[in-house]
Symmetry: C2
Subunit: 471 residues, 2 copies
């Protein structure tokens, strides 16, 4: 028997819950801060939802932007995030993310050895290109380098460890966890209880709840199981709920993001977003199949575009041409092979395939092409990229679009030190959090590619601070 009358099975300095971007960043910094760290992952392999992301990270004021003549600043990134978040974001947290973005991006390169494609992309809601995509267009590229560093530092990720209880001592300080060791997803009764004492702190980095139908429908009853999610099935709420049970303040739980670039013709995240988000939204158009007309600034933030598609009431059609694909510099082979994106020699064939009124579509394209030539979208104010050209170069490509649950902006409240804030608005001693399990950074709408930055910035802060706690 030990502290709290609990017979601890083991004791470490810092317990990290979650083996994705935020958890691994936290573990690395905690270890570098001298702490004995254990990393708990509920699934059979580390990486969580991070590993299936497309590996895009936002950073403002980078050498790459400077080389390409892109004028950007942390201040502009901060403003873009607040605008998309409809002002619900906690400004102090947004500022930390924006101001640390370049540093953390360089850290992934210099310290972790992550390699990125030699390009800067722009996603909806960002004022300028500031997104860098990891090699092979996948978060796995970053996760692999994080795992290599974790091992280099003498740590390992312990898999099939499911957080069941956060344990507090008599003074309310978080002093450890009870996990189910040998957990077999999704059986919450599998595994055996194991009590792990955290002499310094517990760091929650357990991710979002986009795939948790029961929890997400409490906040947004429309998001039933009928609505697909881009997340892995393991993106569930149990760790967040456990944090609420021990008194963490909930923030923005009902802010749940739908990805507007998703295809109803494949499951999960899929390959379609590689076409819609990276090509159509920048160089092409999205039309309402009933009218053949555009209805939104395709480079609006995710909430703007997803809400607009939902308002149309049926899957909309994303359209690009050969030049759009070429200018983007991306390959769409996988999209075509999977049949999510279709190729047409003539616009008329595309219209026919998606039951679009052809004459209206032709007029829409002509009108849009004038906007491109004049570098001004007079209808929806979409920013026309410098290298954009009119849509008139066959073949044409089409993709159906229907939103899927992608990111949960809400979670536990943290302060700028990544401490979890209790219902009394004081930090809960011994408890930190980072990444999608937290709320406040993104407000009503997260901008594309800001999640990895958020996870790494606050993961590192949590790890450093946890290591510095007195045992």
């Amino acid at each position: 028997m030990g502290l709290n009358g609990i017979d601890w099975d083991e004791a470490v300095d810092v317990v990290v819950v979650g083996g994705g971007f935020a958890g691994l960043a936290a573990a690395i910094e905690a270890r570098n801060g001298g702490a004995l760290v254990t990393i708990l992952e509920k699934m059979k392999a580390p990486g969580g939802n991070s590993i299936i992301s497309d590996g895009g990270i936002t950073a403002a004021g980078t050498p790459l932007q400077e080389r390409d003549g892109i004028a950007d600043s942390p201040e502009l990134m901060y403003e873009d995030m607040l605008k998309a978040g409809l002002g619900l974001n906690h400004p102090d947290l947004v500022r930390i993310v924006a101001e640390s973005s370049n540093e953390v991006f360089q850290w992934t390169i210099d310290y972790l050895g992550v390699e990125y494609m030699d390009r800067v992309d722009q996603f909806g809601g960002h004022s300028v290109p500031r997104c860098y995509t990891a090699l092979n267009i996948t978060g796995a590229t970053i996760i692999k380098r994080q795992l290599a560093k974790v091992r280099e530092l003498g740590m390992d990720v312990r898999t099939q460890m499911y957080l069941q209880t956060i344990i507090r001592d008599a003074e309310g300080r978080v002093c450890g966890v009870m996990v189910r060791d040998g957990y077999n997803y999704p059986d919450a009764s599998s595994g055996v209880p194991r009590y792990i004492r955290a002499e310094k702190a517990v760091i929650l980095a357990s991710g979002g709840f986009g795939a948790d139908v029961a929890f997400r429908t409490v906040q947004d009853p429309r998001l039933t199981e009928e609505i697909d999610s881009t997340n892995k099935r393991c993106a569930t709420a149990e760790a967040l709920i456990e944090a609420l049970r021990v008194g963490a303040t909930p923030v923005h739980l009902s802010c749940i993001q739908l990805g507007p670039w998703a295809s109803p013709d494949e499951k999960g995240f899929g390959v379609g977003p590689g076409f819609s988000d990276y090509i159509v939204f920048l160089y092409g158009i999205v039309v309402d199949p009933a009218t053949g007309q555009r209805f939104v600034n395709e480079l609006g933030d995710r909430k703007i575009v997803a809400d607009a598609i939902l308002a149309v009431g049926q899957p909309c059609i994303g359209i690009a041409d050969a030049q759009a694909v070429e200018r983007s510099g991306w390959s769409i082979d996988r999209c075509l092979k999977k049949g999510v994106v279709k190729r047409f020699e003539r616009l008329e064939e595309l219209a026919s395939a998606y039951s679009l009124p052809f004459e209206a579509l032709e007029a829409t394209v002509a009108r849009y092409n004038r906007f491109v030539e004049n570098s001004a979208d007079e209808e929806f104010g979409k920013p026309i990229l410098l290298n954009a050209v009119p849509l008139s170069h066959p073949p044409y490509y089409g993709m159906r679009l229907w939103p899927k649950v992608h990111h949960t902006m809400g979670g536990v409240q943290i302060n700028t030190e990544a401490q979890v804030i209790g219902l009394d608005q004081q930090p809960i001693k011994g408890l930190y959090a980072a990444g999608e399990v937290t709320g406040g950074v993104h407000g009503a709408c997260r901008l594309g590619s800001c999640a990895i930055t958020d996870c790494l910035v606050f993961g590192r802060i949590a790890g450093r601070n946890a290591a510095a706690e007195k045992a």
Copy 2:
């Protein structure tokens, strides 16, 4: 010493926390169900925020509507509420409110003896007129009749009783409360602890947190103390926070409503909404002072109109004329006397007083008058009332508009039986809630005059069910 090792000062069947619409309705039904009830009110007088409301209650399918030839149904009310709520509402709760609305309205007349003005009004977001206003245009009219019934049933409201702790037994069932007896707002250390056992249940009817700057800024950092609230200062979050502490599931906490009809030229709710909400939005126009133009459907729901005014970035001007006032049937004497509404013999004088560009304003009025004549607002789709006439009858009246925090849609999750739902998605035994402390009924935006219906419907359900609990 008694249950839980607590030395209870007293024991009743049902403890009701809060002496507003919901709490008093709950107490009445619990008493009629045979329970021994105590009603706790933290302030020096009962009535809470309810007593300063304008006393408007929504009901669909009433005899008054039938008399006036207004085609309405609970189904239409349900749809209107879901539309304003942006689909975040819990549909089963909305259905209960809509389907019980006429019954509860008749209950206030037949059983409580509330008197209403002989008219049916329409507020923004409602498809048809379905709002009934208590005599003297104040919630106090309803509260007074509720208090009379409470006394008739042998109960009384115990004032200066501040809920500090919700007490659960070893099985987790709520079995009582600790209150600070003799509480002196806002000193949370005033009064002395008093332990009241609830043999059957505790009913939370403690209201919203619109005046709680610390709690509301966690959810929406823009709502600092700089932003006025229509609520009484006592509309704070401590009882909600205590419910979260014992494991209630939070719902929609970040959905905080701003009233678009408020005046920056008076404090709190004031008298201005009597002009803007009851006259301008229906028969007049709202213009941007910079352009002299309309910018929104004045009969949009509160979120639509408030967001639009905030986007303008400065107080906007609500305008009506003599005919508008006459057609509305309302007096604006108090508004004029207080100086919140100003009277002008000519439109030009009004333009000059509010620094509006007169020619643009003249064009706006002419355009709007054509819409009225054609019974169709071609610009913003505002429903043109049957008895509306063009704005051309001096004197003209003007009022500045700037939103104030009015209602908190979020709170604890309840089910259709008014049971509070815990983090495990099971009811917390012995704990009910009703009214503004709950979340889910109104989603992203509450429609005007639906709050009283909500409070009374779920207050009554909570009272009935609490009385039926086994002691």
